[in-house]
Symmetry: C2
Subunit: 345 residues, 2 copies
């Protein structure tokens, strides 16, 4: 029998392959696979739609309990799902939580994890409505599914970008990745040492740790855009890096893009640490992932409305597909955008 | 720091402990944790409610790929979720599928798994609307969340049983467990032997294998009850064994129960194999699990309507809480019902 290695497809390739030509039988299914969340119409009032998204976190792949506190892990596991719902321009409302737990963990450990999930739900006004706890032979497994709502006309998909649209991102990029690099470096350097050494190593870098360990979903940006009367033409959250997400938007919208290296927002702490670690911070911002910032495109006519909003940065513009997806360097040199994303396989 | 072993709580104890006093903030959340599915009101027409349930399957705990074909595994993973929705007297409509996959698996393996999920969705009219594929350091992880719908007045919870209600089950119990015993026995006996030996060992026991490897959700029973004008007072699907499920219904309804040993429906093949393997088939039926039959209670006045329906068996009745949860033996002896369920921790 033929054996094709999963690494040949990659993570996105595999799920795209497995869910290709997925039939739709239910009249309520408006949008199935292929966006941050599915869109379902249960015949609600005022054109309300139900959004659903799901995320699986596996120990040793998505997190390392040597340096991730369980409470932070719970918080992050919930927030990354909320982020997907906000990226559809919706509001998260309910989650279900399934845990696979090996005997290595105690009840108190699971209380810690759950306290983080509960805290995230409290902050974002979301209910925990179900779940499942199961023994695991190996590490910790966390599977969260999030439901949300949005008005039909408010939903923003990935496929609506048009040539000459502005490309915008919130916050800054690469910080979560630099936080991970810092944690990895200190994990190795500090093995068996005093925890005071760790406190010292992290001093002045608390922001990077927070971005990695306790990210927030950009509910505030979604609210600001709505207040300003801007409806993005396409939107995603940045979970796998700017390059990867932009390529998703361009391929689904049938467009190209031009992104300017010197416009990509970078935090000072991230830049300083990258320098120290001999990393190219722009590469980290393009490919690092886990920023959970919002990437969106909007009409050029929204430019004036966009400017007064804090923490939004215009990084480039959408082009015709024929021009390809390009990164424009500081000296005007042009490079093709490439998705690295997570190379876990 | 205090360390409480999860085994002290057990699987149900842990999830109950972690989700105790879960706050409800969203007006749309009508029923959170504690039933086969959560119930959500998105303000739909005709009092439509959204149901949501989730199930996590882990290799080495819930399935053994030495004898479970991937296609069957996919089919079962989907069907057990549909079963939870039917157990609320609802209709499953959409699922999301998250897979954690190690490099041991090929793309073709995942196609096999997905073909089973697709087949189940085709048969039950359900759409696959999302998912996630991730690398795994260890075994295969499958997390499925199912959405469904039901009219508000049709939903059947676990907590509605009343004294003198009839206790009914569909199909028969213990067959899936005996199928598992057979597979386990032959797995050990047949290591390194010819597959023809396996074919012979399974001859005449195909029904037991099917119940274990390719269970169906009892959509037909839900439809028959509706046609007959019977609305159960409480309902669950039998995933952890009759004892465990009945105790859930009784504790949530504040009642006791009396179940008659000689009324529990047992399949002939299951009984014969139990005899051969020196197992007590009633114990298997009470505690074996994975039957995915429906367990429900209904008013005594529905008795006449119930009788003509095929494949439904009255196994006892609900009592006052003071009488406890009892099994009545063939000679009238009374034993307390105990939940064994899955002792995976």
């Amino acid at each position: 029998m033929k054996r094709t290695e999963i690494s040949q497809f990659g993570e996105f390739g595999l799920i795209r392959h497995l869910t290709a030509d997925m039939p739709v039988r239910q009249p309520s299914t408006e949008k199935g696979v292929g966006d941050d969340a599915a869109v379902i119409n249960y015949g609600g009032k005022k054109d309300t739609r139900t959004l659903v998204t799901t995320d699986l976190l596996l120990e040793g792949v998505h997190f390392n309990l040597e340096y991730v506190p369980l409470k932070h892990l719970g918080y992050k596991a919930a927030v990354v799902n909320f982020s997907d719902i906000y990226a559809m321009n919706g509001t998260p409302t309910q989650i279900t939580v399934s845990l696979g737990v090996s005997a290595r963990f105690s009840v108190e450990d699971m209380e810690e994890l759950y306290s983080g999930i509960r805290l995230a739900c409290e902050r974002y006004g979301v209910d925990i409505v179900g779940g499942d706890t199961s023994a695991s032979m190996t590490g910790l497994t966390i599977s969260i599914t999030c439901l949300g709502t949005a008005d039909k006309d408010e939903i923003v998909y990935r496929n609506g970008a048009k040539a000459n649209n502005l490309i915008c991102v919130s916050g800054n990029l690469g910080s979560a990745y630099m936080g991970l690099q810092l944690l990895e470096r200190e994990r190795i350097a500090l093995r068996g040492k005093d925890t005071n050494d760790a406190v010292e190593a992290f001093e002045g870098r608390e922001y990077l740790l927070e971005r990695q360990l306790k990210p927030e979903a950009r509910r505030d940006i979604v609210a600001e855009l709505r207040k300003a009367g801007i409806k993005p033409t396409a939107m995603m959250d940045v979970s796998d890096g700017l390059s990867s997400e932009l390529l998703h938007i361009c391929s689904q919208s049938g467009t190209g893009c031009a992104v300017y290296e010197d416009k990509i927002p970078i935090d000072f702490q991230a830049a300083a640490l990258a320098e120290e670690m001999n990393l190219n911070i722009v590469t980290c911002a393009l490919n690092g992932g886990e920023d959970y910032e919002l990437l969106f495109t909007c009409d050029l006519k929204d430019y004036e409305k966009l400017i007064p909003i804090d923490d939004i940065y215009i990084v480039g513009h959408i082009t015709d597909a024929a021009e390809g997806c390009r990164l424009i360097g500081r000296n005007g040199e042009q490079l093709p955008l490439k998705a690295q994303g997570w190379q876990a396989f």
